[in-house]
């Protein structure tokens, strides 16, 4: 009896020491998780997740204060990536359907040169100056739609990106026959 108690106690002590040592030896500084999450976010800085930019959302997800399905431009692919990264279950998108990617286009005839959209753009994708016409650099526009609201003459419109045969993707094949009746999740 005594031997059994002693043996268990010794084992417990040994393993406890081992765990404690490992915790100290392999401790990581900083918050690499937020960095990893930020690295996979689409960086549109649109705020549609409810946070003022991608980095704050990444930090909130790392602290487990936000769900992984709130990013609209990231779409389903991002939900799956985050689910994989964090070991969580994928969730359907909070926003519902994925919106097709679009670019902002300024109607030059209507623009009054007020620079409000330039200040609103989080990636400086609009060139122009006070009283000069503004225009969007299509290659840098992320489609975040933050410039639409400030424009006083509502001259900015979102134009969906036309599919090009070079960027066309083969569609995901239809699911096997025996999964017919079940609606697809994620």
């Amino acid at each position: 009896m005594l031997i059994a108690i002693t043996a268990i106690a010794v084992l417990a002590t040994l393993f406890g020491l081992l765990l404690g040592y490992s915790a100290l030896r392999f401790h990581i500084e900083g918050d690499p998780l937020a960095d990893q999450i930020d690295a996979v976010l689409p960086q549109t800085q649109c705020g549609q997740c409810g946070f003022p930019g991608c980095r704050p959302y990444a930090e909130a997800v790392a602290r487990d204060e936000a769900e992984i399905n709130r990013c609209v431009p990231g779409g389903e692919a991002l939900v799956l990536t985050l689910a994989d990264l964090l070991g969580k279950d994928p969730l359907p998108l909070e926003a519902g359907e994925e919106k097709p990617k679009a670019l902002a286009v300024i109607d030059e005839k209507e623009c009054i040169g007020c620079t409000l959209c330039i200040q609103a753009c989080p990636v400086d994708a609009i060139v122009g100056a006070a009283k000069q016409m503004h225009t969007v650099i299509a290659g840098e526009c992320t489609g975040c739609e933050l410039c639409l609201a400030p424009c006083p003459v509502e001259c900015i419109h979102m134009v969906p990106i036309a599919e090009d045969s070079r960027s066309w993707k083969w569609p995901y094949p239809a699911p096997p026959a025996d999964t017919e009746l079940r609606p697809s999740t994620a």
Binding site: W170, P171, P173, A174, A177, D178, T179, E180, L181, R182
Partner: protein, 346 residues
């Protein structure tokens, strides 16, 4: 923009799952006839019962999962499971045990995991082992082959045995049942008899028990048919039989009086059935070639080990299930060298 996109190849694709399963069923038929010939109608009744129960259980499971039942039933995999199960169990098995076996095999081992292609364990063997462990007595009530039997059971007697559990009037269980050769060999060896002595009895044929060994041959015929039709490849059967023969031969050479001749192992019990029909189940075995050889050889070795030193007389089911667990790991470590990678290219 195109409608539904059909991907290449745009050809006739001759291979089909139900065709594969049908060929397996065809290959089983010679062995089944041999079993019925030697051991009576109980085998046939069990086959019919097991097939019926398997189809019903699968249909019920599919309905519960919200899947279309006909599409899956049409691939005939439930039938194959049922037939293998019915061949493995004694011809005296009560009907409700067959039902339980099928519920466990199809419902739990196969459908709970996601249906065909998703089960990690061989369903027929899982059902068999489930019953063996839970109802050892019922699962070891074997009949002797007809030429050795004092009282053979007719069709009605067999049916009554299976459905009511009681042997015919005037006969008790002892009168109609007999141990299998493997069981017999095991008990005798445990009593420290010599092999020569044991084999002197009338029960023994050339290699295994009289009658029993011939059943193996008919299954071998079926297995060769499958090889010829390329339904299975030679790697698993050959490696399994070789593995068994080599280790049995090694121990036999050490002491021929306490270890039976290696061919005994091959022609007794479910070895040949296991080599060609059970271990080669594609869903639960390895997929890479090297992996298949390791898989098969390990099953052979395990069969010998369990039969000689383990707790049950026949070991095929246990050996197969144990290796089913290891199959994914073996696959992972035996991946072939991809064209253009590693040695062979710069």
């Amino acid at each position: 923009m195109a409608g539904i996109i059909l991907s290449s190849p745009h050809t006739i694709r001759p291979n089909r799952v139900d065709w594969l399963m049908l060929q397996v069923i065809l290959a089983l038929i010679p062995g089944i006839f041999a079993l019925i010939w030697y051991f009576g109608w109980g085998v046939a009744i069990n086959l019919v019962l097991a097939s019926l129960f398997a189809v019903l259980v699968e249909a019920a499971a599919l309905k519960l999962r919200g899947r279309p039942p006909l599409t899956t039933l049409r691939d005939l995999s439930a039938l194959v499971t049922a037939m293998l199960f019915a061949i493995a169990v004694p011809p005296t098995l009560p009907w409700w045990l067959t039902l339980m076996g099928m519920v466990f095999a199809i419902g739990v081992t196969k459908q709970l995991y996601g249906g065909l292609g998703y089960n990690p364990f061989n369903p027929a063997m899982a059902g068999y082992v489930f019953l063996l462990v839970s109802y050892p007595l019922a699962m070891t009530n074997w009949l002797p082959p007809h030429m050795l039997a004092e009282h053979s059971l007719g069709f009605l007697d067999s049916a009554r045995l299976i459905f009511t559990g009681s042997p015919p009037h005037e006969l008790g269980w002892d009168a109609i049942s007999m141990a299998t050769p493997l069981d017999e060999m095991r008990t005798q060896l445990a009593q420290n008899r010599m092999i020569e002595e044991i084999r002197a009895s009338q029960l023994w044929g050339d290699f295994g028990g009289r009658g029993w060994e011939w059943v193996g041959n008919w299954f071998l015929l079926g297995g060769l048919f499958l090889l010829w039709r390329r339904v299975i490849s030679w790697h698993i059967p050959v490696s399994m039989l070789l593995g068994l023969l080599l280790i049995a031969g090694f121990f036999w050479s050490l002491d021929p009086q306490t270890h039976p001749f290696p061919a005994f192992h091959v022609f007794s019990g479910g070895t040949i059935l296991g080599a060609f029909f059970i271990a080669t189940d594609p869903v639960t075995s390895c997929t890479t070639r090297k992996g298949q050889i390791i898989f098969g050889a390990s099953i052979g070795v395990l069969i010998f080990v369990i039969r000689t030193w383990g707790g049950y007389p026949d070991a095929v089911a246990f050996a197969v299930l144990l290796m089913n667990i290891a199959a994914p790991t073996i696959d992972y470590y035996t991946q072939p060298r991809v064209f253009g990678h590693g040695k062979g290219s710069e």
